[in-house]
């Protein structure tokens, strides 16, 4: 960013630190068209296709009872998986960022593991555990419980794929902030909870929000893993993305895109929230340590 300001207004002398004008122009033109082609157009198409047959058809697609039950299931899954992963993320970052112990980097690698596992494989591992021929399959069956092709499977698979989000955003920031403030709080007589609640958490709250936003977006939109374990039972185990797939495969395009537009709206909200939170993180990190900025 700083480089572009170097050129004086209307200066004819080419700056040695700036590419020739035609290079800049063509690179920028390329970037913009690449982004428009790959990002803007697909997003716009979702809304255009959803409204193709008017608002009435759009509304009918969203308010359909099966769509409604898919929305409810997705909200239920989010309400279970996001808080669990939030609590885990906070606990993990406290343990990892505030203490030095043996095997720490191994633990960090293990936390990142679900990102390296492809969505379909993430679903498969739960089938291997809880499926009819899986480890616990027969045992669950004897109790009349069903995990795979039922709601618990969907919840478990979602927890797995969204597992690292909060932890991975909060750990680096907490590590950066050290333990001095917490030590001061403890010296002044605060107990552990008070220290965490009033000292540590406010310092990392934007990173926590950031992690929750990403976790939530992924939990609502997860397709591959959920697709393996859900069994696609209409009105019962279909989440919003699975419902979109069914409608699309039935050539019910308007309804498919209408329901998909809800997810696209969610994505837009996520992007805006992410941009806002990113700015707050940036602001708080620059205001926190003004003395460490060099030259």
């Amino acid at each position: 960013m700083g480089f572009s300001n170097q050129r004086g207004s209307g200066g004819r002398i080419a700056s040695p630190l700036l590419e020739p004008r035609w290079v800049r122009w063509s690179l920028t033109a390329f970037s913009c068209s690449f982004l428009v082609l790959f990002l803007v157009v697909p997003l716009a198409v979702v809304f255009a296709e959803a409204l193709r047959k008017g608002v009435g058809a759009y509304w009918a697609g969203i308010t359909d009872p099966t769509a409604w039950s898919a929305i409810k299931l997705t909200l239920l899954v989010v309400a279970i998986s996001v808080p669990l992963n939030l609590v885990f993320g906070l606990a993990a970052s406290w343990a990892i960022a505030k203490f030095e112990f043996w095997g720490k980097s191994l633990l960090i690698t293990l936390i990142d593991l679900p990102f390296a596992v492809s969505p379909v494989v993430s679903g498969l591992i739960f089938v291997l555990l809880f499926g009819l021929h899986g480890w616990f399959g027969a045992w669950l069956d004897s109790w009349g419980l069903q995990v795979i092709f039922a709601v618990p499977g969907v919840v478990l698979a979602t927890i797995f794929v969204t597992f690292p989000f909060v932890a991975r955003e909060v750990i680096p920031l907490m590590q950066e902030q050290g333990t001095e403030q917490e030590q001061a709080a403890l010296t002044l007589g605060a107990n552990g909870w008070q220290t965490f609640w009033f000292v540590t958490l406010p310092n990392v709250r934007w990173a926590v929000w950031y992690g929750v936003i990403l976790c939530n977006a992924r939990a609502m939109g997860e397709f591959g893993a959920v697709s393996v374990v859900s069994g696609h039972i209409r009105g019962k185990t279909n989440t919003i993305p699975l419902h979109v797939e069914i409608l699309y495969n039935e050539y019910n395009f308007v309804a498919a895109f209408a329901v998909a537009s809800l997810l696209a709206l969610l994505a837009l909200v996520t992007l805006v929230a992410k941009a806002l939170v990113e700015r707050r993180i940036h602001l708080s990190s620059t205001s926190l340590e003004p003395t460490t900025v060099e030259s």
Binding site: L35, W94, L124, G192, F253, A275
Partner: protein, 279 residues
């Protein structure tokens, strides 16, 4: 020398938080992954090899690797230029474009799948321009590459952006003072510093492409031997109650992503070592 598990600290809550972390991690991540490993070892080599060497499986794995590599390459080039422009130039709506880069993270894959299919279909917004030349962008390899490119783009851009922002301006000034042309400065000063970040982004985009499922099933057409990706074949095998076959393919995918994860970590270590040497 006394070996201690943990360095002394006055902060409380270590046992509680680490205990919960390890417990939750084992329950959600380690137990299921162990099940996969045990399942695959209990099947034995013969079953594994029989599944993997089957022509249909072989073709789908090859297809997945090839298309993921091509898509990651497109992203490495395109994403590099995008990151460069976002960091170095000013242009209208730059902040909007910058925020949009994360769209593939935020947009559920099923939605991007049906949107991309609609656009690139022979009657679609972009596909119609290719239809007269008999180029089928959808239900072909191209479709898979398009979807994987969409999915992988943010990985390259978001890895490169901080690396480009961290570049020390003084090095470029020094190069210019010593008479280097802008191209020479780029080639010999900027490029060597950012190559680890570019490779990291490439590896991440490649890994994401290998595992991608949601957007591809819509756009690829899913023809066995032709446009059937490995993830889809896992689901097909599961539906046929061939758990051993599904597990074998999953192991292949899992091992490749671990190898990639390892190389990404090595690359990041290499990059930090390099940057330390520079500054």
């Amino acid at each position: 020398m006394v070996w201690r598990f943990k360095k002394h600290s006055v902060l409380p809550g270590f046992g509680l938080t680490l205990g919960f972390t390890v417990f939750y991690l084992s329950l959600i991540v380690l137990l299921p992954l162990t099940a996969l490993c045990l399942k695959s070892t209990s099947m034995g080599w013969a079953v594994f090899w029989e599944t993997v060497s089957h022509p249909r499986v072989w073709a789908s794995c090859r297809l997945t690797y090839e298309t993921a590599a091509i898509a990651a390459l497109i992203n490495a080039v395109g994403g590099f230029i995008v990151a460069w422009c976002l960091v170095r130039y000013d242009f209208p709506l730059k902040r909007v474009f910058d925020a949009m880069v994360d769209l593939p993270f935020a947009l559920p894959t099923a939605v991007s799948g049906i949107a991309l299919t609609t656009i690139y279909a022979s009657s679609g917004l972009i596909g119609q321009w290719f239809a007269p030349w008999d180029i089928k962008l959808v239900y072909s390899r191209w479709g898979i590459i398009i979807a994987m490119t969409f999915i992988g783009l943010p990985f390259v851009v978001r890895t490169l952006q901080p690396a480009l922002e961290d570049l020390d301006k003084e090095n470029e000034e020094a190069a210019a003072c010593l008479g280097a042309s802008r191209w020479q400065t780029f080639r010999f000063v900027i490029w060597p510093t950012i190559i680890p970040a570019l490779l990291t982004g490439f590896a991440m985009a490649f890994a994401r492409g290998l595992g991608e499922y949601g957007s591809i099933v819509f756009i690829s057409g899913n023809m066995p031997m032709k446009t059937e990706i490995a993830s889809l074949l896992i689901i097909t095998k599961l539906e046929q109650h061939d758990v051993a076959g599904a597990t074998s393919i999953a192991v292949v995918l899992l091992v490749s992503s671990f190898v990639l994860l390892l190389s990404i970590n090595l690359l990041q270590w290499w990059s930090s070592e390099r940057l330390r040497g520079v500054s």
